[in-house]
Symmetry: C2
Subunit: 341 residues, 2 copies
DNA sequence: CTGAAAGCGCTTACAG
DNA sequence: CTGAAAGCGCTTACAG
């Protein structure tokens, strides 16, 4: 392989001069710089990443920890991953993707061995076992998802409480007084998926304040189970005039459920979901929804992470916990309460 | 950070002895091995990946190049990625995920800089610009997807020709004589997505052999366009008694289309798709389908790649082009031709 | 069975 | 403005 020594030799300079000419970290005469650049091009030189990492203690790689759990909706995860990956590349970082079931172990492995300069954690749980490891690691970490304890980490998430309130307020303003909220599976809650109860609790509170009857249930993450659940719910609550969905699989299943029941949106039933616009487009979901903005969250997390990586780790800037304000994308699926189903 | 020097010192041996004790590459007295292991545990030592890579020319990282194109169905890509990632970890490799639009450039970057020991390419096109770069790279490469020229690379793919014939034969045996085949968007073809025409051409040939009328069209990859296309096709070919889908988005859209038209499967229409069982489960697609086996393909590609990485690169074993035989998973969506729609 | 030394390919003080 | 040298943390011939 061609090394910087070869480049130096070809350019007739020392290795250090060649290195400085390439990094621009000290002033180099235009002529020498030219000779070095020519040699680089002629020889096809690219610095060896391992050697550079060893010398600089910087790998220019970010670790991305994602878990694909049976009871979560995989296509939604992908959006976050792509947001992280795209932003990382813009900032000149590569992505080490880790999908192991044992996330804590995997995290130790890649931080201890210095494979990465920083970490982005997905599927963050309330009491996430990976957090103590991440806090103890020499690399900074950014989370997408709010854990119980944010100490020592930068955290980014959708404001699920506000999302829950917003769903209720929107329906309330239109005149709805009885609603159904379908959340993710209870397994997700048991595993510490705080976003489930953050939205649900806030929605329940707001409903109480507005004297709305809100039937809140956990739904499955798979077809056909979730479709059957939706049917059962509509059967059980014939007076409900609106449906709130914090569950991607439910949203994907709904068109066929409504079709079967001969219900039109928003005439017979108003619907608000919570998912990304990309998701809505892929499945052509015609429901107004709270944008979950996975790309924006990925971008924010990586930007902050890189800032922290590159800030000369001296005066530790305070850690941030940043919530994205939910936005309701209107797709025309809500209106005045129709005939109860 | 704790280095092997610290371990050696704590164990009262030389660095080389510590290294050998850990690698097991030469015989070490039980007692010394014990002391070294204790020191490792006590100090919490993990080898520095960059240093090891520099010394051994092995990174234990595999590059995974995936492209998320507007006109391909992203959730399907994810399955391949997870198959690759899981198998890599089993074999002790990590995954560098590269999703850049400019795949050729990205490939040069990670191979030239020796960030990876090998490469897995996804979304392989007939005349893929990344292939010449990969062939010239010092690392071996494995493809998931068949290009026009397989020279110097290991290639894994579903046997799409056989899949096309199998679809036709299955329908023929049941008595069908007029069918519709919906493939991926024409853009995919123009970009060199050979699997599209491999299946389609084989199906057309086989149909001719069997004197079946086969209406073959390209369909969109998004809703609602693909749904409308399906409606238009069923309108245009009222005598067709079966539908063949080499298009994930079409499969996802079909339930609602059939519902609208009041068609029952297989009574009114027989259907065969081509997608993964995982995909079928996520969307509860009730159609018999040719399993695309993304996990199996990912596994095969990584296994072969690692074998090649670790074979002491001497006597170059011959490169392989391996096709998975299609399997039709029966979900009961085919039967004798019903009343033409 | 073990140690001292060289080397992997970079970067960056230290000198001039 | 440039060079000689040290060092990052490993592994692995070379010697004993």
């Amino acid at each position: 392989m061609v090394t910087i020594g070869d480049v130096a030799q070809a350019a007739g300079v020392s290795r250090s001069t060649a290195s400085y000419a390439l990094s621009g970290k000290r002033t180099i005469s235009a002529e020498v710089r030219q000779r070095v650049n020519d040699a680089v091009r002629r020889l096809g030189y690219t610095p060896n990443a391992g050697a550079r990492a060893l010398a600089t203690s910087q790998t220019m790689v970010i670790g991305l920890l994602a878990q694909f759990l049976e009871d979560e909706f995989a296509p939604a995860m992908l959006q976050y991953m792509l947001g992280v990956s795209d932003t990382a590349r813009e900032l000149d970082y590569d992505i080490l993707l880790v999908t192991e079931a044992d996330g804590a172990r995997a995290l130790s492995r890649i931080t201890d061995s210095r494979m990465v300069d920083g970490i982005v954690l997905l599927n963050v749980a309330q009491d996430d076992l990976r957090l103590p490891i991440l806090r103890a690691a020499p690399q900074p970490g950014a989370l997408i998802g709010l854990p119980g304890d944010c100490t020592g980490l930068d955290v980014f998430d959708l404001d699920f409480e506000e999302a829950g309130r917003m769903m209720i307020e929107h329906m309330y303003a239109l005149g709805h007084r009885e609603l159904i909220l379908v959340s993710q599976p209870e397994h997700v809650v048991e595993r510490g998926g705080a976003y489930v109860w953050r939205l649900q609790d806030a929605a329940l509170q707001q409903a109480e304040r507005r004297e709305i009857r809100l039937h809140a249930v956990f739904g499955e993450s798979r077809q056909p189970a979730i479709g059957q659940t939706l049917h059962a719910l509509l059967d059980a609550h014939p007076a409900a005039t609106g449906l709130l969905l914090n569950n991607e699989a439910a949203a994907a299943a709904l068109p066929s459920v409504l079709h079967t029941r001969g219900l039109a949106v928003p005439h017979d039933l108003s619907v608000i979901g919570r998912y990304s616009d990309e998701f809505a487009r892929t499945f052509s979901l015609p429901y107004s929804s709270i944008e979950s903005a996975p790309d924006r969250l990925g971008r924010m997390a990586v930007r902050q992470l890189v800032r922290r990586i590159e800030s000369t780790e001296q005066g530790e800037e305070p850690y941030v916990v940043r919530f994205i304000s939910p936005e309701l994308i209107d797709r025309g699926s809500t209106g005045a309460p129709g005939p109860a189903s």
